[in-house]
Symmetry: C2
Subunit: 461 residues, 2 copies
Amino acid sequence: MMAQKQIVLGALDCFAPGFLAQGMWAHPADRTGDFNSLSYWTDYARLLERGLFDMLFLADTIGVYDVYGGSRDPALRLGVQVPINDPFVLIAALAGATSNLGLAATGNLLYEPPYLFARRLSTLDHLTGGRVGWNIVTGILASGARAFGRDLMGHDDRYDFGDEFMEIVYRLWEHSWEDGAVVQDRERPMFTDPDKVHQVAYAGRHLKMSGIHLTAPSPQRTPLLFQAGASGRGKQFAARHAECMFVNGTSRASLSRAVADMHRALAEQGRTPDQVRILAGLTVIVGETRAHARDKQEAFKAAASAEATLVHASGGLGIDLSRYPYDSEIEYSETDANRTLMDNLTRQPDGSRITIRQVAEKMSLSSRNMLIVGDAQTVADEMIAVVAETGIDGFNLARVLMPDSLEDFVRLVVPRLQEKGAYKAAYRSGTLREKLGLGDGARLAANHYGRHAGEEAVASI
Amino acid sequence: MMAQKQIVLGALDCFAPGFLAQGMWAHPADRTGDFNSLSYWTDYARLLERGLFDMLFLADTIGVYDVYGGSRDPALRLGVQVPINDPFVLIAALAGATSNLGLAATGNLLYEPPYLFARRLSTLDHLTGGRVGWNIVTGILASGARAFGRDLMGHDDRYDFGDEFMEIVYRLWEHSWEDGAVVQDRERPMFTDPDKVHQVAYAGRHLKMSGIHLTAPSPQRTPLLFQAGASGRGKQFAARHAECMFVNGTSRASLSRAVADMHRALAEQGRTPDQVRILAGLTVIVGETRAHARDKQEAFKAAASAEATLVHASGGLGIDLSRYPYDSEIEYSETDANRTLMDNLTRQPDGSRITIRQVAEKMSLSSRNMLIVGDAQTVADEMIAVVAETGIDGFNLARVLMPDSLEDFVRLVVPRLQEKGAYKAAYRSGTLREKLGLGDGARLAANHYGRHAGEEAVASI
């Protein structure tokens, strides 16, 4: 048998009651309401390790989905990613409960002081033995910015700010402490060789700092970097920084386009496709038989909340979907600035339009992710085919019902993928970056932007 | 036997190689060099739970002790609290490894965005089941401020800033979510009752924000609050906010003065001594016999680093002690602004002066803490007598050799304290605040400033 591409697999979730399948917390069998307890998450993480998942990936939102109807009340009432806790605290709490699982979370760089953020991530990388990832985001919610007494920066400005933030954290992670700086020589005595520790100084338009990194180099130094930029400026940012990229798409065609886009953007940064892993969001409903899976899907659809789906979609789009007719085709006013985005939302492959109700129904279980429904054989075959055809490297799996969705997947689909040689039979050793075959050993690849960003500036101080 | 006051006991340490007994990491039996590994800390925390310690308390320093000789090199070379990792990450990692131990850490409010800091602490309180404490500090190192592109604020300004920070976090923790706001009613469905969640808005001289708290109420809501203000403004801040206070003093007389001072400051805030626990820093060297303990002390003294002690003391005082003669009595210039502080450092009870060398020797194992050396009987008796005479409620124990100092204490001293009825035989149930008998159930006491700070402002939005 020809050696087959091994599918990379993450579990995508957030530290909140509702994630993508909106309203499922209200399903009688769902445990998501226990999300504040540590045992909920240690059970979750251990299940993922049984299934050899590469990582648990925790999305995060600073702010509330308050665009729909101009009110935060529906998000609160329906549990749409609120309350939402600090995902990096959870990663730390899972360090001791797991030994191979990658632990990645979204960190919004608009609101974090880079000096402390860099230390926090280095500390996490130490305590997890190099299993930490950071999904770089720059925020979309105005309510988030207001929580810091600010207005939300413009889209491209946010990425400019992000560039400055990255310059600082790269210098701290990669260049402040040389390899071998920590000596721990009890005889001399010398804990750290001061000649191998360097001041980092940065003064940009938005950010300014001066200091040494407070933490000695962690196994990966820079945590594994994730990004999901979809705009032009976002793709450029992702192509420079990301080692894992998220793409959304409900069809093979849209995923193929997203992959081709990303590969072009990578080439512009002098990087090759094998230096990143592209993961597509995926929702799976698997049953013992196809009929069983379809029955589950219908039951889930009935349990899901259309209103909560629109609350979530409105926040993501920045468009109040309650302002459009629910059950009839949308007629746009001349001045509707959202027309293009709304067209994207409602246009079907055949050119026809669907209503807001139909949008809600379509997105209710899987949001903007691909949805695969079937028996284990069907699901495994489809996953393998999507990878082969679109050029993605794997999936970020978002559960519908917790923990049933993941238990079913681990029990039914994982063995099929393994039989087909499309999924690992055991974890590889090393850090998260090494397990994914990325980078220069445990460190950023030699040609990664961050590996050398500001190196000369640091050396000259 | 008359019911005796139960001694409160914390272990005081930091997430770094060196803490107070400077240079001990170089001792052949010391394990502190493993501080980056999770198992080092889970072993540590479990040892403390065997000894029924009330808490592990992690000090923190943002910045480097670079006052001595005007250079950070000695601190790096001698491992004086550098490298230093994020203590809140460690608390999270210890949540699952412990079940009763309080987990407290220093958080410097000058550099943390209050909105995210409040969420982080609430998340920790959830995952630990209400065992989190926060030591409020406002920083002393200019190198810390520079790491954020700022100059260190003046002393009193730092406390004014701190007052604003506290106003925000109290509103988020105490008033944004009413009790019972989280309904989790699957029938309606209603996850959160929006009418019971309130906007927090604050606009001060330094800080501004508007938003709901992102986290639902945690067991303690406000984490247990620690403070160690020693200046006039610092004492006032501590008397308003702190539920546990740290005092330093090498003698019973100085501890008695510190307690009396604190009680006066508390009274000015309308609080009574039973509403706080005052803990004194303590270093214990215990042996099977007194002679054994004294031998240990001599061996530790020989291993400790005088230079590292002065590096640490210089940073704490803000005075470069390398500028004074090492081995002869100090003669001050007319213009020496540090004369008063230096007098405090070198003056003996009999009015004589000691040299910088003697200062270093005196501080090398216990810094500014009380030091007790002896067999278990002596140590236990002395601890009980100090509590009875000075009015403190207990101690924060700083180890010399790790883990030997703590293992010896748990094995030898704890049983003696228990025999004498001066120490608990088992943990009390409940949150950290409840275990210490503070507060209104798990919450801040009804007359605590934070319980009602900004309550009306929040309700009116």
